[in-house]
């Protein structure tokens, strides 16, 4: 009596891959022409515009929610839910709302919803991340269903930048389901959300802007860079943006179905100094370091040339960009002279002093740190590169626990960020002046620019402040990496927004026939 125990096992071993492969073939359905798939590198944790913090969520929210204003591709605030706005006084903004705007559940959006949204974020009990930015608001008033008035505690020229947050329906905003199945008035409505996996939104037929041309947008979360790029090459991801490394451009361009575009970006990469440090408090030392860094070499090596040199936080596209600030071209001889003059001669071991350079575990950040360290070694500065997991690194930077660090400012369109980063009162946690920079003249210029309602005069003040900041060498301004995005050729109409938002998907459409 032979029982086929072993034989059965062998057969199963052979059958398993076959069975799985069989199942595989049924899973590959052709792409739905009205569906666009976006590849995300991170999971949007929260889709409530009052609470969302991560870049992934903030970039998607304009599709689900409307805001009073939005930033156009040039980064300037333009009306959205607001039909018009006026400033009866320097501390008051009055908005007239569009009529006939409906939430995805059919209810009409009124001024009460606007007030509800802003009052909710201002309420400390809700611990909204936007609470700090709205601290300048004294009251939100609604004289009638079409009018909203914001009363400020003091004049604040950049206030409209704070009005780009999505408006939440007052009748749903306090329900438990809202964060999971958000209801807004945007061009797309929520359809499905599997956290960590995918978010699906569907065209909203009742949108006041008209129904979007796409039927659905699927946001797929693919954290692994290699996997994401392979998915795009295979045509299973139609849009990649904000997450294509320069080395991958030629790889993606090999696929004829993909249009890969690079264009000047506004992300600002810099090297930060701790100005309370005994060595780095001397501006000559900081300038020497700036002259020692060979930006061209690093841009060629790390970005394959896909970045342009930076001299100030605000990119040339910004209306307040200062074009004539001090720059520090690569000049090791000058750097050595400056270091000699500031009392740091070369010691017998061939170095002048050591600095620690902190960075995150991001691969590009580490490679950049190593290249900078080589440049500084050439002028006698020994650099100890220390990379930390993000939370630890960020905690250290905020606590002022560093000598040198490198980071980037992403999507800066509001020149008031200069106040947030360089004003002497903006030391963390009040702001991001992590190096403890203090220049009374810069403070004065930045303060008056907040109160200045005339754009030309405001610009002059902001330009003067940028000149001083550059001359003081608070940061080593490095470069603005290019924006790189890849769109499947069967779609047209995609337009990148400076903050990285996917807003333009509302006008993207499938090309007629022939792919």
């Amino acid at each position: 009596m032979m029982r086929p125990g072993l034989g059965r096992l062998f057969a199963m071993t052979l059958l398993l891959p076959g069975a799985l492969l069989g199942a595989a073939c049924s899973g590959n359905s052709p792409a739905d022409p009205g569906t666009l798939v976006v590849g995300l590198e991170a999971n949007p944790t929260n889709l409530d515009p009052r609470l969302a913090t991560g870049a992934a969520a903030v970039r998607i929210l304009p599709l689900l929610f409307n805001s009073l204003l939005h930033l156009d591709p040039a980064g300037l605030p333009v009306p959205e839910l607001a039909r018009s706005w006026e400033m009866p006084s320097p501390t008051s903004y009055v908005f007239r709302l569009r009529r006939g705007v409906r939430f995805h559940d059919g209810r009409e959006l009124t001024s009460a919803d606007v007030r509800y949204t802003y009052d909710w974020m201002r309420d400390p009990r809700n611990s909204s991340p936007n609470q700090g930015a709205l601290a300048v608001v004294e009251a939100v008033e609604t004289p009638d269903p079409e009018t909203v008035r914001f009363v400020l505690r003091e004049p604040f020229a950049s206030f409209p930048q704070n009005l780009t947050l999505g408006i939440v329906p007052a009748h749903l905003g306090d329900t438990e389901e809202f964060a999971e199945a958000p209801v807004g008035s945007g061009p797309f409505r929520w359809e499905e959300w599997r956290p960590g996996e995918r978010l699906v939104v569907r065209a909203f037929d009742g949108s006041w802007e008209g129904r979007p041309r796409l039927d659905r947008v699927v946001f797929r979360i693919v954290a692994n860079e290699t996997t994401r790029l392979l998915e795009a090459r295979r045509g299973r991801i139609d849009l990649l943006w904000n997450n294509i490394p320069p080395y991958a451009v030629s790889f993606l361009r090999e696929a004829r179905e993909l249009a890969v575009t690079t264009r000047p970006g506004i992300t600002y990469q810099y090297l930060g100094f701790n100005l309370r440090d005994d060595i780095l408090r001397d501006p000559r030392v900081r300038r020497a370091i700036a002259h020692a860094v060979d930006r061209d070499r690093i841009v060629r090596a790390l970005y394959l040339g896909l970045a342009r040199p930076a001299a100030t936080l605000l990119a040339p596209e910004n209306w307040a960009h200062a074009g004539d600030v001090a720059t520090f071209p690569h000049d090791p001889a000058l750097a050595r002279r400056l270091l000699d003059d500031s009392g740091f001669p070369v010691r017998p071991d061939g170095t002048r002093f050591s600095l620690s350079y902190k960075t995150s575990t991001d691969r590009q950040g580490i490679e950049m740190a190593d290249l900078v360290a080589e440049d500084l070694a050439a002028v006698g500065i020994r650099v100890e590169r220390r990379s930390f997991e993000w939370g630890t690194f960020y905690g250290d930077i905020k606590a002022g626990n560093f000598q040198l660090y490198s980071l980037r400012w992403v999507g800066i369109t509001d020149p008031d960020q200069l106040h947030y980063i360089f004003h002497s009162t903006s030391v963390p946690p009040a702001g991001a002046n992590r190096g403890h920079y203090a220049n009374p003249e810069v403070d004065r210029l930045l303060e008056s620019s907040r109160r200045e309602s005339d754009p030309a005069a405001r610009r002059d003040g902001l330009v003067a402040a940028q000149r001083l900041i550059a001359a003081d060498c608070v940061y080593v301004s490095l470069w603005y990496p290019d924006d790189i995005y890849s769109v499947a050729r069967r779609f047209e109409g995609f337009e990148p927004y400076p903050g990285g938002q996917y807003t333009s998907l509302k006008q993207v459409r499938a090309r007629e026939a022939g792919r």
Binding site: T13, S127, G196
Partner: protein, 304 residues
């Protein structure tokens, strides 16, 4: 039965020990969840307000007591970042990880047992050599390398399987192969070694002498006795599969507990970290408990 009961009771201090260790370790990592939550624009007052709301301003001992109190009520708290109950967040990710671990284990067993047995029966012949070289390769390939290589071959060049994601049975194939390969290699070696021990035993000669065919001798007499050490490894490894799927999940965009745990640590989402570790620890001890129980079924001598 009292032996099983004793083992069952021992699980409680084991899990508690793991949780205590994790509780204090996550609080030791530098970085502040409140600052990460409120972003850079938050005022000092907002930060301390939220810290108080979350109970993070209390002494660590008190926070620990609260955590244990909640645990006793089956309440793991709310995730700081998802702003949802921890159990709900983990509940969303656990099935994906369990499916992946089970599939990887199935792949490993279905490949390893026949190969291990075959290698033992054909000892020192070509089949054996090939099997052992193959298993050496299997244990030597790290998941972060094997995963992309499988994708490039099966998805990219051949176009047979999806690159990543979780759509249908097809998308399970490559992650299960990636996660199961090294385990299959270990189990194949284990099975071979264990079979070789057993094949030399007297009772097998007796069985053959009685006229039992070669296949039943192997399947019913030898394999059953050779399985003991293999079951131990399977039990230990299954727990490791659950917690060790992090890299495989990342490569294949597979939304499981491993991915969630990494996210939670990055965000300093203490309740979610503790919840994930609790779930992984529970799975680990449960599987090991089952392994112990399984011994008793396979080998009557273990029933104490």
């Amino acid at each position: 039965m009292s032996g099983l009961l004793r083992r069952l009771l021992l699980l409680v201090p084991t899990v508690l020990g793991v949780l205590t260790l994790v509780f204090f370790l996550v609080h030791l990592i530098p970085g502040d969840p409140v600052e990460l939550m409120l972003g850079e624009t938050a005022s000092r007052a907002d930060l301390s307000k939220l810290r108080a709301d979350l109970g993070l301003d209390r002494p660590l001992g008190e926070q620990y007591a609260r955590f244990l109190g909640g645990l006793a009520r089956g309440d793991l708290g709310r995730s700081f970042f998802y702003r949802k109950p921890v159990l709900a967040v983990i509940g969303g990710a656990l099935p994906a990880t369990a499916l992946l671990a089970a599939a990887a284990m199935a792949v490993a067993l279905l490949v390893a047992l026949p190969i291990g047995v075959l290698a033992a029966v054909r000892r020192d012949r070509l089949t054996d050599r090939l099997a052992m070289i193959g298993s050496l390769l299997g244990v030597s390939m790290p998941n972060f390398w094997l995963g992309p290589m499988l994708i490039i071959l099966f998805s990219f060049r051949l176009g047979w399987l999806p690159v990543s994601g979780r759509e249908g049975a097809a998308s399970l194939v490559l992650p299960a192969l990636t996660l199961g390969t090294s385990l299959a290699a270990i189990l194949a070696r284990m099975t071979r070694a264990s079979m070789l021990d057993v094949l030399g035993e007297d009772y097998l000669r007796t069985a053959r002498a009685k006229g039992v065919g070669p296949l039943p001798v192997i399947a019913r007499h030898a394999l059953r006795n050779a399985l003991m050490p293999v079951v131990t490894i399977v039990g230990l490894q299954f727990g490791a599969l659950l917690s060790g799927a992090v890299i495989t999940e990342n490569v294949f965009a597979w939304p499981g507990v491993g991915t969630l745990l990494v996210q939670a640590i990055t965000a300093r989402d203490y309740p979610l970290v503790q919840g994930c570790v609790l779930v992984i620890a529970l799975c680990y001890v449960a599987v090991n408990f089952l392994t112990d129980t399984l011994y008793a079924l396979i080998d009557p001598r273990v029933r104490t």
